[in-house]
């Protein structure tokens, strides 16, 4: 734990692995062979183990990354907002090509999937400081300033929060004024069991997108005998198109901290850790400042909030660029300073989580909601929303609409209403909850957004993002972008996800090239289902969701993409392309 008084339990050395690697990466621009040797000695590991960790996270490099390391977002939303132009401009202005460093070592250009700024694309991170709403002129200006020696920190943008909508009549749950300590004072009057009852009444469910009842998770951790216990906040918001947690942490860091304290109090935990994705380095100081303020006010630390025998402190752990670390067990592995590979379901985190000790992991939004529920009382909270799905939900809207940003909607709003609020421009295809979610067609615009009926498929259960695409967008291109994303971000531990995503991408390219026929579509569907049924974690299980839905919902579109003059004799084989390499030896 940071610089606090709680020192009963010391986290083992290896948990510092990511921090050490970050230090080296940020000071030297890369991780040298000697560093690996040294770290192996410090942590008493074999070198290959350190190497394994360093090579897992894409923000760690083994070769120099230049004085100014530029990560350009290549998510699909960036793509439709002019990614290619920015990419070309960057290459022309810096003299480097993507994936490498220019000759003088001033600029390193790299691609990275969604950096949580989908409402202000195209965007990039330079030395992990955000630059938003890029255009050719702005890029030229930025690069020339950097060439003249300006630091990225001094010229970066402060990303706008873009909170576009909250429920009318001041009914906002998340964004109304937050007075530090009010929720904690109310909590103090309740026994832990009563807190759980309150959370149960509010029907709060995991806002990361799995919707597991929060009270069940907390209760399961509360009854564990092993000590100490941990509260982990999952701020690894990696799902492309999602940025609600970014806005929450930027504006509501305090309600997040209080939510974690409430959870810690309820389950009897001593430690809280916020696992913040590497893309959000620029938010870290905000969280650190808030934590410091809470410590100073006696609301964190020894006997915090003047509750006897309740010691609780929070630290922030930086991730290092890996989508799969948003999976809770992968996140735990990463916290322990290992490769972010999801664990099997042999134990649940509430039994054996971080360091094999009882751990509650919740999303940023869940903790913020929990603090607000205790603050306002479950009775008031359940007035909002619809029966069976009370409260409000944050949705990150991006893509083809006039007003991209955060929408706090009451559960029960229809897709059509939301599209109207954000002034969507001829919407045709909507990706709900990111690439791993589901896609819906505009024909379904009267479906409600709620936590209900996932299986009945009447309502849409949204994890937190809407990416809107109009009719001009090429669906196959969208799906290929997703498939490339999953191929890159798969951890590689299980066969169906590691090989499957690669295979699916090959097949999709066939479709893009106009070589596919009906059999290919059927195979895509059946292979996607195999991945879904057999993958180890959510990544592989959901990677082909959108693809499978899209083939059903946009059947006509796919039918038109096929190579329909299949002659029975010949699957497509392009002799000219296959002999092209040889033709250059023609005399």
């Amino acid at each position: 734990m940071a610089d606090d008084t709680v020192k009963k339990f010391k986290e083992p050395g290896q948990t510092q692995m990511l921090n050490k690697l970050w230090e080296l990466q940020r000071s030297n621009g890369y991780i040298h062979d000697d560093d690996i040797k040294q770290l192996a000695q410090v942590f008493n590991l074999s070198e290959i183990e350190v190497e394994g960790v360093a090579s897992f996270y894409h923000f760690f490099h083994r070769k120099p990354t230049g004085k100014n390391t530029i990560y350009l977002n290549n998510s699909i939303v960036a793509d439709i907002k002019g990614f290619n132009r920015i990419k070309e401009t960057l290459e022309r202005e810096t003299g480097a090509t993507f994936g490498s460093v220019d000759r003088t070592g001033t600029f390193g250009l790299f691609l990275t999937p969604c950096i949580g700024l989908s409402d202000q694309e195209p965007s990039a991170l330079i030395n992990f400081y955000p630059f938003t709403n890029l255009n050719v002129i702005k890029v030229k200006d930025i690069i020339s300033k950097l060439k003249k020696g300006a630091t990225a920190e001094s010229i970066c943008d402060a990303p706008a929060d873009n909170i576009r909508y909250t429920p009318p009549d001041n009914k906002s749950v998340f964004f109304k004024k937050f007075v530090p300590g009010v929720a904690l004072a109310k909590m103090k009057k309740l026994w832990p069991a009563a807190v759980i009852k309150e959370i149960k009444k509010s029907e709060l469910a995991g806002r990361g997108g799995a919707y597991y009842p929060t009270w069940k998770k907390w209760n399961a951790a509360r009854v564990q005998a092993a000590l100490p216990k941990f509260v982990v906040c999952n701020a690894d918001e990696g799902e492309p198109g999602t940025f609600k947690d970014r806005v929450l942490m930027n504006t509501q860091a305090k309600s997040l901290i209080e939510g974690m304290i409430i959870c810690g109090y309820t389950i009897g935990a001593e430690y809280g850790i916020i696992y913040l994705r590497g893309e959000y380095w620029w938010l870290k100081h905000k969280l650190d400042a808030a934590i410091k303020e809470y410590r100073a006010a006696g609301l964190l630390g020894k006997e915090c909030s003047q509750i006897k025998d309740f010691d609780f402190d929070i630290r922030v752990q930086m991730g290092a660029g890996s989508y799969v670390c948003g999976e809770e067990t992968a996140l735990l592995e990463s916290l322990e300073g290992k490769r972010g590979e999801p664990r099997t379901k042999w134990f649940f985190p509430v039994e054996k989580g971080y360091l094999q000790l009882p751990t509650v992991i919740n999303n940023v939004e869940t903790f913020c909601a929990a603090a607000r529920i205790i603050e306002m009382g479950s009775a008031e909270y359940t007035q909002l929303g619809i029966p069976g799905s009370p409260g409000t939900k944050l949705i990150s809207v991006s893509g083809d609409c006039k007003l991209p940003g955060i929408y706090e909607i009451e559960w029960g709003m229809t897709v059509a209403e939301l599209l109207e609020l954000c002034e969507a421009d001829d919407p045709y295809y909507i990706q709900v909850s990111g690439p791993s979610g589901e896609c819906i067609s505009i024909k379904e615009k009267f479906r409600r957004i709620s936590m209900l009926d996932l299986l009945a498929r009447k309502d849409i259960r949204c994890g937190g993002s809407f990416m809107i695409f109009n009719k001009q967008r090429d669906l196959v291109k969208v799906l290929l972008n997703f498939s490339e994303f999953f191929k890159q971000e798969s951890c590689g531990i299980c066969t169906p996800c590691r090989a499957g995503n690669f295979i699916i991408q090959r097949k999709l390219k066939r479709l893009e090239n106009g070589l596919a026929n009906e059999t290919d579509l059927q195979e895509l569907k059946s292979w996607g289902t195999i991945m879904k049924n057999t993958s180890r974690c959510g990544l592989g299980k959901t990677a082909t969701n959108s693809l499978i839905y899209a083939m059903d919902k946009f059947h006509d579109y796919f039918a038109a993409k096929l190579d329909n003059d299949f002659n029975g004799l010949n699957l497509k084989f392009d002799m000219e392309a296959a002999t092209k390499d040889y033709e250059k030896y023609k005399i």
Partner: protein, 423 residues
């Protein structure tokens, strides 16, 4: 002592100790659940290969990470699950570069063995032909990355005396591979190194000088199936039984004629066969062009040049049933070893830079009458529709003719375990 619980597997009732691993419970009760990563004493179980996927209380999940509990309902052997498991093994064959005939581990290889057990004759997935290296640097071992299925066994199991890992995953996604720590590897004893080779379910970890201790043919998986009644259920085909005379065509494309040699290996039975079939275009008759429509065409070898492609297309045109015979025609086989190397490098190495060539005196042959070399070796099903596959390098003679007789006359057949071989 743990209490006993009741569970059902495929509708049958069993009793087992509470909390015991489902894989073990199934094994003890004679139920075969295929797996490649499961290793009894590793806890928690690895759960990386996913081949043991079953339906557990109605949900898909791997058997190896399931603790048995009261009332557990497990489905193991329905058609969908069998197909799913087979698909996963096929995925491993498509992802790696598994060339059984050239592999030291053949016969002792769990992956190859699982291929036989699940009846994998070809993979439904496109071969990815990813370029992978062979690491010769370790002191005592050779790490063959082409063959690794990333099961995690060696990563978890092989540690030095001071508890340090010898193997670990590097990179992620489809770039993941198992790296060796040379320093730690040197500390292993000979026995420990051999153990590492043994726990590897494929031929990825090879210990120099110790890999040929057992002769081919006498190895663990060479003669017997672990599944009881493996050959019992074969789909019956309803075809007329009258043995009218049929016409057969055969060809060897990018192959070695080994499969043709194997066809002759039924010896005297060949005389019976010749009463029933006549050969049209075939190297056996030396007929160069099709003179009749054929009932069945047997294709050996994949396509490495334009002439192969044209011949194969002709076969598709003139044959009712087209059978890919042997590994090379199924997925490229040995010739496809060049698929991860650019064509120019292959040609230059062969014609220009080889040690027997006089520098500056040679050219890469190109003439309009010569077949054009393709950028890579293509499997037959990438060029035309293939109806059936007979795996093996070469397939056993009995296997070939049993399959052909079945296809032509619907004759019942049962292929022995020893006849179904990849090498």
């Amino acid at each position: 002592m743990a209490s006993m619980v009741n569970l059902t597997i495929d509708g049958k009732n069993f009793q087992a100790e509470e909390g015991k691993n489902l894989m073990l419970v199934a094994k003890e009760n004679g139920i075969f659940i295929p797996s490649l990563c499961y290793y009894e004493h590793i806890e928690p179980p690895l759960g990386s290969c996913r081949v043991c996927t079953c339906k557990i209380n109605g949900k898909y999940g791997p058997a190896c990470t399931e603790k048995v509990s009261e009332g557990l309902k497990v489905e193991v052997n329905n058609e969908e699950l069998k197909d799913t498991r087979k698909a996963l093994v096929e995925m491993m064959f498509a992802e790696g570069n598994h060339i059984c005939p050239a592999c030291e581990k053949s016969g002792n290889c769990d992956l190859q063995h699982m291929g036989y057990e699940l009846g994998v004759s070809s993979t439904r997935f496109p071969h990815l032909f990813k370029d992978r290296i062979i690491d010769y640097k370790p002191n005592r071992m050779v790490m063959e990355h082409n063959r690794c299925i990333k099961c995690l066994r060696c990563v978890v199991e092989v540690v030095t005396n001071d508890g340090k890992k010898v193997f670990n995953y590097l990179n992620r996604g489809n770039e993941t591979y198992v790296g060796v720590d040379y320093e730690q590897e040197a500390k292993l004893t000979e026995e420990e190194a051999i153990n590492a080779m043994k726990i590897c379910p494929t031929g990825a970890i090879i210990v120099r000088g110790a890999n040929m201790a057992e002769p081919f043919g006498d190895r663990k998986f060479d003669m017997e199936s672990v599944q009881k009644n493996y050959n019992e259920k074969k789909p019956k085909l309803n075809r007329p039984t009258a043995m009218e005379k049929k016409i057969v065509a055969t060809v060897s494309l990018a192959g070695c004629f080994g499969c043709h040699m194997s066809m002759l290996d039924i010896d005297t039975e060949l005389l019976d066969l010749i009463e029933l079939i006549s050969f049209d275009k075939s190297p056996l008759t030396d007929i160069k062009t099709f003179t009749n429509r054929c009932h069945i065409g047997l294709v050996e070898g994949g396509c490495c040049n334009s002439e192969n492609v044209e011949t194969l297309r002709k076969f598709r045109e003139h044959c009712d049933i087209l059978v890919a015979l042997g590994e090379c025609s199924i997925w490229g086989g040995l010739p496809s070893m060049r698929n991860s190397i650019p064509l120019s490098e292959c040609l230059e190495e062969a014609y220009l830079n080889s040690v027997t060539n006089e520098p500056g005196n040679n050219i890469i042959p190109y003439h309009e009458d010569l077949p054009k070399i393709l950028d890579r070796v293509y499997a037959c099903n990438e060029i035309v529709k293939i109806d059936y596959y007979i795996p093996g390098c070469p397939p056993d003679a009995n296997h070939i003719w049993k399959a052909v007789k079945n296809l032509l006359w619907g004759e019942e057949y049962s292929i022995l375990y020893s006849e179904f071989k990849y090498d």
